[in-house]
């Protein structure tokens, strides 16, 4: 269809709702309709240019969207959503696409809504300790801008240099410091959201609570399925006076895991509590020379922060505790440079492991901490069974595991084995009372395992909730919540036979 006749066809049915007519716009028609209110440069429809949007931080899954748009104003955004609503075009929103579960994977019949141009910090209120930002602002940029007031934004996912705050809200992102400072949901006060119908809605407020249901809590972690976030008011915290890191080496992973419980039982909530196993230690040491003891079977990094006095008191207590828990060695960072070096090993663990293997697959289950030893033993058995090495990195304070399964996609069958191995780890997490995803989200990747974690009536409750916001399933359809048919198929086939649609190196956390 040429442009003129498309435009004609379009105007003929512009007043009609696609749900009633059942006639959907084709790509050319949609492009023309979008260009009516968006500048040409904000509408991307050529295959080559669209390639940039085919995946997020989980490039094993790729799809080309029908069209991608990069609006610059809230009004434009609203018009895009209104048009899509009217024409029944599904919408997938995208921030920096650092997500690790394929949450921003485009739909072939859908529009990809890029929010990268909403990159302004609108206001910082140092007295009320809040920052009003647009969704495309990078996580770390908020703390950088707040630094001059002695404030910062607490949730710090490992991708914080690149990931956007809008994406953080969609995934309810965590990070290294969330045992003490909470997840995104604990640090967001207000959202401006465009509903699937294209209305602008304010959820939450600059006050600490709002009237009615806690829709704000619901929006966090809803994976772009309930609304498009266009403005965020976040809470800022005073930067602690001091932070100190202790590094403890153990000859046994179980002892390391137990010592975490002992620290907490002593009444201390560390700001960060991270654990690495032997393979992860080797990888990190080879890569950044953080000074980790190479002969250890596990190391624990424990950061305490707060006032000067508190940090001194707690560091001393933790030092003694770690030794009494069987640590073979405990080091306290002598200065800021050493503290940063200790952390650098942990923060670069993923790329460090990446150097050891052509590909790796990062998992994200959370388990009760007391089950850690049991889960690790099982993971190492599975590693033998699948003949694939695994390096373990955890947020030990909150039981969030990131096993990294090493494989080579060029070896026939290895990707399949890696995915089956991963699926077993997730199902194991559910079995021991945990969850399939601590912070990366369900997205496209873990949709089958949702059927393991939730019963059909629970999934149906999720679907009913989704319909309350989005009756036509316009926003990110097919993600996060499985359809009934897909669950029965999954259970029929069995948990160890997964879809494999590609492979890639997965580099972000």
């Amino acid at each position: 269809m040429d442009a003129r006749s498309s435009a004609l066809a379009l105007s003929e049915r512009s007043a009609l709702n696609a749900y009633d007519t059942g006639i959907l716009m084709n790509k050319a028609e949609l492009t023309i309709a979008l260009k009516r209110f968006l500048p040409d440069c904000a509408v991307i429809s050529e295959q080559e240019a669209l390639r940039a949007y085919e995946c997020d931080g989980l490039p094993a899954y790729r799809k080309m969207p029908l069209v991608a748009v990069l609006p610059q104003t809230v009004e434009q955004l609203q018009q895009v959503v209104q048009l899509c609503h009217q024409q029944a075009v599904p919408v997938v929103a995208r921030g920096a696409a650092t997500g690790l579960s394929g949450g921003a994977l485009p739909l072939e019949n859908g529009l990809l809504l890029g929010l990268s141009r909403f990159n302004k910090i609108l206001n910082i209120n140092p007295l009320a300790r809040t920052a009003r930002v647009q969704p495309g602002v990078r996580n770390l940029a908020i703390s950088e801008a707040a630094a001059k007031y002695g404030l910062y934004y607490a949730p710090d996912p490992s991708s914080q240099i690149a990931c956007t705050i809008g994406g953080n809200v969609a995934e309810n992102s965590g990070g290294v410091h969330c045992l003490k400072y909470g997840l995104t949901v604990h640090n967001v006060l207000e959202l401006k959201v465009i509903t699937p119908q294209g209305e602008l809605l304010t959820i939450g407020s600059a006050a600490l609570d709002s009237a009615g249901y806690d829709i704000l809590a619901l929006m966090n972690g809803s994976e772009g399925m309930l609304g498009i976030v266009v403005e965020i008011l976040v809470k800022l915290l005073p930067r602690p006076e001091r932070a100190q890191v202790l590094l403890a080496a153990f000859d046994d992973v179980e002892k390391a895991a137990d010592s975490v419980g002992e620290i907490i039982a002593a009444g201390i909530i560390p700001a960060g509590l991270e654990m690495m196993d032997a393979l992860a230690i080797q990888a990190a040491e080879d890569f950044v020379h953080a000074g980790y003891p190479r002969d250890a079977n596990a190391i624990l990094l424990c950061e305490v922060d707060g006032t000067n006095e508190e940090v001194s008191e707690h560091s001393k207590k933790i030092y003694d505790l770690l030794l009494s828990c069987g640590a073979t060695e405990v080091r306290t960072a002598r200065d800021e440079a050493e503290r940063l070096r200790f952390w650098q090993g942990r923060k670069s663990a993923f790329p460090a492991v990446g150097r050891m293997s052509p590909d790796y697959y990062c998992m994200d289950g959370t388990v009760p901490r007391k089950k850690l030893a049991q889960v690790l033993t099982r993971i190492s058995q599975l590693s033998e069974h699948y003949q694939l090495p695994v390096a373990n990195v955890f947020h030990a304070g909150d039981g969030n595991l990131h096993p990294l399964i090493l494989y080579d996609a060029n070896q026939p069958g290895e990707l399949q084995r890696a995915e089956d191995f991963g699926a077993e780890i997730l199902e194991l997490s559910v079995q021991v009372g945990g969850t399939i995803t601590g912070e990366h989200g369900v997205g496209h990747e873990k949709i089958h395992q949702m059927c393991v974690q939730f019963s059909e009536p629970e999934l149906e409750q999720f679907r009913a909730l989704k319909r309350a916001f989005d009756p036509h399933s316009l926003l990110n359809p097919g993600k996060a919540i499985p359809q009934p048919r897909s669950c029965s198929e999954y259970k029929l086939i069995g948990s160890c036979n997964h879809d494999t649609s590609g492979h890639q190196h997965r580099e972000h956390e």
Partner: protein
């Protein structure tokens, strides 16, 4: 100490079949809150469904049935030097966990450690189709599925019956000191905000109309260093003072008039209103006793300042409260769009409208 889930489920099932709406009953300690309870509805008592299901001090999590008393939970936690860090007001020795979470109330520590909903990790509920559903869990981080557990907090039982809750708990601070200083109201508001923006270990801050009160909590050395920086006089009975603030038993609350609650951005300057105010939550929660009972004219101006206004308690004449609530909601009116979304959410959980009709809003 027993599990009545199945019996409760049957009650809900019967109510559905007979098209009866239900009034969920805990201890009744917060019956004063929210919309009027229709006494013609069938009561659904939950208090027998009680007992701690699991408590793991090292995991920082407790799971208990909805009818468990808050007192029982708090004394169990105290044995391990832990606490519910949102410092929930109870309003009665019998107050239940389920009611506390359904009402979503938090005490003086709220601005510094978080609210009731912030500490909810998981829940087991009965929805309006008499299904027992489980959301979230006992782990700190869990992003599988929508956060239904937190949605239950403050929903006043209108979305379902809470059967069981898992909450994150925290260690009790090693030491607490409270300080008081005399100052004018706007200076107090500014000072509370300024201190909150520093790394001082503040755990509560309020203003009673003449004096500012600050509580510091944490390691003994940190608390003592912090109190030197703040200055002022040390309050002798720190625990009793904050207990009275939390339970609304401070002298300020001794009134037979309506008690209104203003939730505002913490740095909002003092709002001149006829009557008297008590400022808590470092400026973010303001209790207001007005000279006259009808304050509906304030809704829009409070909303413009980013806040909300609700009728919290009417201790004196019941008929005044009944008459107010017959024509108004206790909570701040919702915009048309938000109310529509609320109705759809209510429908998603409770399609036949059997749970606590009118308790949150008359239209839900």
């Amino acid at each position: 100490m027993s599990d009545h889930s199945i019996a409760l489920q049957q009650r809900v099932q019967e109510a559905l079949q007979q098209k009866q709406a239900l009034t969920i009953q805990g201890s009744g300690s917060k019956n004063f809150l929210g919309g009027l309870i229709d006494h013609n509805l069938t009561p659904l008592p939950v208090i027998k469904h009680c007992g701690v299901v699991n408590y793991e001090p090292k995991e920082l999590v407790i799971t208990a049935r909805a009818g468990t008393s808050l007192t029982a939970i708090q004394s169990l936690l105290a044995e391990q030097h832990q606490m519910l860090a949102f410092e929930p007001p109870a309003f009665s020795e019998q107050a239940t966990l389920g009611g506390t979470i359904a009402c979503g109330l938090s005490g003086p520590r709220r601005p510094y450690t978080g609210s009731a909903r912030d500490f909810v990790l998981g829940s087991k509920i009965i929805n309006g189709q008499a299904e027992i559903l489980h959301f979230g869990g006992e782990v700190m981080k869990n992003v599988a599925g929508y956060d239904v557990s937190r949605l239950m907090v403050g929903a006043m039982g209108t979305l379902g019956l809470i059967l069981e809750l898992s909450l994150k708990v925290l260690p009790q601070p090693e030491q607490e000191i409270s300080l008081t200083l005399e100052c004018p109201v706007n200076e107090a508001i500014e000072q509370m905000n300024k201190w909150s923006a520093t790394p001082l270990p503040i755990s509560a801050a309020c203003y009673d109309g003449a004096n500012l009160y600050i509580r510091l909590s944490g390691a003994a050395t940190a608390v003592s260093a912090g109190s030197k920086r703040i200055g002022g006089d040390i309050i002798a009975d720190c625990k009793a003072f904050w207990y009275n603030v939390r339970e609304l038993q401070h002298g300020f609350f001794n009134t037979d008039k309506f008690l209104w609650r203003l939730s505002l951005p913490s740095d909002t300057p003092y709002i001149e209103l006829p009557g008297k105010q008590f400022i808590d939550w470092g400026g973010a929660q303001r209790w207001y006793i007005a000279d006259t009972d009808n304050k509906q004219n304030l809704y829009s101006s409070i909303a413009q300042q980013g806040g909300q206004l609700s009728l919290f308690r009417a201790s004196g004449d019941n008929s005044a409260r009944n008459s107010f609530l017959t024509h108004n909601d206790a909570f701040h009116p919702l915009s048309t769009a938000l109310l529509a979304l609320h109705k759809q959410l209510k429908h998603a959980f409770d399609p036949q409208g059997i749970f606590n009709p009118g308790r949150l809003y008359r239209e839900l």
